[in-house]
C-alpha cells in the first residue's frame, strides 16, 4: 500500500515536473537558451488563478484562461527583456538575467498576492474517494492524465498543424526554416510563451493539491530543470518520461527510505544518471564534428 500510494502521488507530481520541464525543453530546442524563471512562471499561473478566480470572484474557467494568457505574456516578456538582448550581444548572461528575473517576480508576487499560503479550491480535491484501498483525491488521478494529455496535445499540435510544423522546422534546422520564410525570431518568442504557458498549467493543476504561495515555484523549478536535463533537454518524450520517473523515484524514496533522505537520494540519482549519460537519458550526442 505504501508503494502503491507512492506511485500514485509520484505520478501526479512527476507529470507536473514533466510539464514544467517541457517548458525548458521547448525554449532550449528552439533557441538553445533556457528560462530559469520557469518555476516563477508556474507560481504565476497558480497565483493569478487564485487572485482572479477567488479574490476577484471571476468564473473559474475565465480566471484560468486569463491566468494562462498572462503566463504566456510573461514568457514573451522574459524573452524580450531578459534573453534576446544578451543573445544578440553574444553574452551568456541571459542565464543570470532569467534567474534575477525570477527573483524579482517572486518578490513582487509576495507583495501583490500576500505572504500567506492560500488554498485554490477545486471540487476534485475536496473529498477523497477510495480506489484499491487508497484514499485519493480525484485530482491526483486527473493530474497525470491531464499532464500526459497536454504533452500529447503539444506533440500532435506540432506535428499536425502548419504552425506546429513550422516550429519543429525551426528546432531542427533554423537556417533552412528561415529559407522557408519562417520568422525564427518570432518562433523563439513563441517558444518562450509556450514554455511559461506549460508552467502556468502545472501551477494551476497542482495548486489545489498543495497551496498557493509566492515561492512555490523555487524548488519546483529546480527539480523540473533536473528532470529536463536528465531526460535530455532536446527530447520532448524524454523529458516527459524523466518527469514521471523523477516523481515516482522521489515518492518511493520518501516511502521507503524516509523523507529526510529523499533529496539526497534523488539528486544523487541525477548525478549518477548524468555521469552515465552526459547528454541525458534520451539525448543524443550526435557524431563529433571536427
Amino acid at each position: 500500500m505504501l508503494v502503491l500510494s507512492a506511485l500514485v502521488s509520484g505520478l501526479a507530481q512527476g507529470a507536473m515536473y514533466g510539464l514544467v520541464a517541457l517548458g525548458y525543453h521547448v525554449t532550449f530546442a528552439v533557441s538553445r537558451t533556457v528560462n530559469f524563471a520557469q518555476g516563477s512562471a508556474m507560481m504565476l499561473g497558480a497565483v493569478l488563478g487564485y487572485v482572479l478566480g477567488v479574490r476577484e470572484g471571476w468564473p473559474m474557467p475565465l480566471a484560468v484562461a486569463a491566468a494562462l494568457a498572462l503566463c504566456a505574456a510573461f514568457g514573451l516578456l522574459v524573452e524580450r527583456v531578459l534573453v534576446r538582448p544578451f543573445v544578440r550581444r553574444g553574452s551568456e548572461a541571459w542565464l543570470m538575467a532569467t534567474v534575477a528575473g525570477g527573483l524579482v517576480l517572486d518578490n513582487a508576487a509576495m507583495f501583490a498576492f500576500g505572504k500567506e499560503p492560500r488554498a485554490l479550491p477545486s471540487r476534485l480535491a475536496e473529498r477523497p474517494v477510495e480506489i484499491l484501498g487508497l484514499g485519493l483525491y480525484p485530482l491526483q488521478l486527473v493530474i497525470p492524465v491531464v499532464g500526459i494529455a497536454v504533452a500529447a496535445a503539444l506533440h500532435l499540435l506540432s506535428r499536425r498543424t502548419a504552425h506546429g510544423r513550422a516550429l519543429l522546422a525551426v528546432v531542427q534546422n533554423p537556417t533552412a526554416a528561415r529559407l522557408m520564410g519562417i520568422d525564427v525570431g518570432r518562433a523563439v518568442a513563441l517558444s518562450y510563451a509556450g514554455s511559461t504557458l506549460l508552467a502556468g498549467i502545472a501551477g494551476l493543476l497542482i495548486a489545489p493539491l498543495s497551496s498557493v504561495t509566492a515561492e512555490m515555484g523555487t524548488l519546483f523549478g529546480i527539480k523540473a530543470f533536473a528532470v529536463a536535463i536528465v531526460g535530455g533537454i532536446g527530447s520532448a518524450p524524454g523529458v516527459v518520461a524523466a518527469g514521471l520517473a523523477y516523481g515516482v523515484v522521489e515518492a518511493l524514496a520518501t516511502a521507503l527510505v524516509g523523507s529526510s533522505w529523499t533529496q539526497i537520494v534523488v539528486f544523487a540519482a541525477v548525478i549518477g544518471s548524468l555521469a552515465l549519460r552526459p547528454n541525458g537519458l534520451f539525448g543524443a550526442a550526435g557524431p563529433r564534428k571536427v
Binding site: L2, S5, M110, K115, E116, P117, P128, S210, T213, F220
Partner: protein, 390 residues
C-alpha cells in the same frame, strides 16, 4: 546608502551654523530598536506579524510620550532565514544604528547565530518567536538574551501532557525536516521519556511535500494512537489532508505552526480537530487590552478586516508584550546602554500585558517571560482560533 546619516550630518551643520547648541539634539533623537527577522520568503508572514505587534506597541508608547522623553523608532532588517545574514543585520543594527534592543528571530539558527554576538557586544537581544531552548539558556556568564515566546522544551512537555490527557499511550511524531523540527524531536523525546511513554515512530517531511501518506502509514503501522505535529501551516495542512485521505481518525496535538495561517482553508474540515498550543488568541472574549490592541491593529493596517487576518496571533502578541517590557526596561535603566538595560530587565514588573500580567518577567535565573502555565491549547473553528474549554 541610507540617507539618514547624511541627514544627521546636515542637521549637525545647520545646528552649528545657527549656533543653536542649546537645543538638546540628542534628546530629540529617537530611541531606536531593531528587528532582525525573515521578511521575505516562506516566513515573511511571521515577520510581518512581529512587525505589526512591535509597531502597535511603539505607537502606544510614543503616544504616551515615548521613553526617556524620546520617541521610539523601529529599524527592520530582512535575514532571509539565513543565519549569516541575520548576524550581519544584527551587527549593523547594534554597531551602526546603535539600537537599544534587537528584537528578532523567527528561525532558531538565526537567533543562535546572533546570541554570541549579542552577549559579546553587550546588546540586549529579545526573542519574540524562535522557541529553541538554548537561545536563552546559552550558558553565557552575562546573558543579554531575553525572550517573550514559547520555549521548545516546555512546549514539548505541554504537548505530551495534552496527548496523555487525551488517552494517548504510544504517540507518533510528525516533524518538519528543518531546525525547528529537529529541536522539537529532541524535546519531545525527552518529554516522552519523562512521561514514560514510548514513541510509535518519528517521521519527517519537507515544507513542499504534498503527500504525507507514506509517513503517516508507517506511524499507523507502528501503532500510533496520537500524533505530535510540528510544522508550519502549509505542510501541516498537507498532513491533515493526508490523514483525511487515509481515513485515519487519530487525535493530533500540534505545536503552534498551523496557527500561523489559514489552516482550515488549506487543510479542510479535518484541520478543526487539531489541538494547537498557543501563547495568545484574539478570539473569544478579549480582555480590554486585547480589544484595544485589536482595534489599534485594524486602525493601523486597513488590510486587517476579520480575525483571520490577525495572524500569526502569537507573533503579534509576543512582539507587542516584548516591546512594552523592553520600553519599561529602558525607562528603568534611564539609558539605552546595553548593560544598564540588561540589569533593568530584572527589575521591571509587574506589568499588565496582552498575554498575561507579568509579575516579574525576568530574573538572572530565568530569561523567559512565558512559562508552561502561559500556554493554552486551541483549535480552529472555521477561520478563527478558539481556546479549548475543557
Amino acid at each position: 546608502m541610507d540617507r539618514r546619516p547624511v541627514l544627521h550630518r546636515r542637521a549637525l551643520l545647520v545646528a552649528l551654523a545657527l549656533g543653536a547648541a542649546a537645543v538638546p539634539a540628542a534628546a530629540q533623537d529617537p530611541v531606536k530598536v531593531g528587528l532582525v527577522a525573515a521578511l521575505s520568503g516562506q516566513s515573511a508572514k511571521s515577520g510581518e506579524a512581529i512587525t505589526r505587534g512591535l509597531q502597535v506597541a511603539i505607537d502606544e508608547i510614543n503616544a504616551g510620550g515615548g521613553v526617556l522623553g524620546r520617541r521610539i523608532e523601529l529599524v527592520r532588517r530582512d535575514d532571509e532565514s539565513n543565519p549569516a545574514k541575520g548576524l550581519v543585520a544584527a551587527r549593523e543594527l547594534v554597531q551602526r544604528e546603535k539600537v537599544a534592543v534587537v528584537f528578532g528571530g523567527i528561525d532558531t539558527p538565526v537567533s543562535m547565530a546572533i546570541v554570541p554576538f549579542a552577549n559579546g557586544a553587550k546588546a540586549p537581544f529579545m526573542g519574540v518567536w524562535a522557541a529553541g531552548t538554548p537561545i536563552t539558556r546559552n550558558g553565557a556568564a552575562e546573558n543579554y538574551v531575553f525572550r517573550v515566546s514559547a520555549v521548545d522544551e516546555l512546549v514539548d512537555e505541554a504537548l505530551v501532557a495534552q496527548a496523555a490527557r487525551k488517552g494517548a499511550r504510544k504517540p507518533g511524531l510528525m516533524l518538519i525536516n528543518n531546525p525547528w523540527g529537529e529541536s522539537n524531536e529532541a524535546g519531545l523525546k525527552k518529554a516522552l521519556a519523562a512521561a514514560g511513554l514510548p514513541a510509535a515512530g518519528i517521521e519527517k517531511f519537507g515544507n513542499d511535500d504534498i503527500d504525507m501518506v507514506p509517513q503517516l502509514a508507517r506511524l499507523r503501522e507502528g501503532g500510533a494512537d496520537a500524533l505530535f505535529l510540528v510544522a508550519n501551516v502549509q505542510p501541516a495542512a498537507q498532513v491533515v489532508r493526508s490523514l483525511d485521505r487515509m481515513g485515519w481518525p487519530v487525535p493530533v496535538v500540534s505545536h503552534w505552526g498551523p496557527a500561523g495561517g489559514r489552516f482550515t482553508e488549506l487543510g479542510g474540515p479535518r484541520a478543526e480537530t487539531v489541538d494547537m498550543v498557543q501563547t495568545y488568541s484574539f478570539s473569544g472574549r478579549l480582555s480590554p487590552k486585547g480589544e484595544a490592541v485589536l482595534a489599534a491593529l485594524k486602525a493601523r493596517y486597513p488590510e486587517i478586516r476579520t480575525l483571520s487576518d490577525v495572524t500569526p496571533a502569537v507573533g503579534i502578541a509576543n512582539a507587542y508584550d516584548a516591546m512594552h517590557l523592553a520600553a519599561l526596561a529602558i525607562a528603568r535603566a534611564g539609558s539605552t546602554e546595553g548593560p544598564a538595560v540588561r540589569a533593568a530587565f530584572y527589575e521591571i514588573g509587574p506589568y499588565q500585558g496582552l498575554i498575561k500580567t507579568y509579575a516579574r518577567p525576568f530574573s538572572p535565573g530565568n530569561h523567559d517571560a512565558l512559562s508552561r502555565e502561559d500556554y493554552i491549547f486551541t483549535r480552529f473553528s472555521g477561520p478563527e482560533i478558539v481556546p479549548l474549554t475543557d
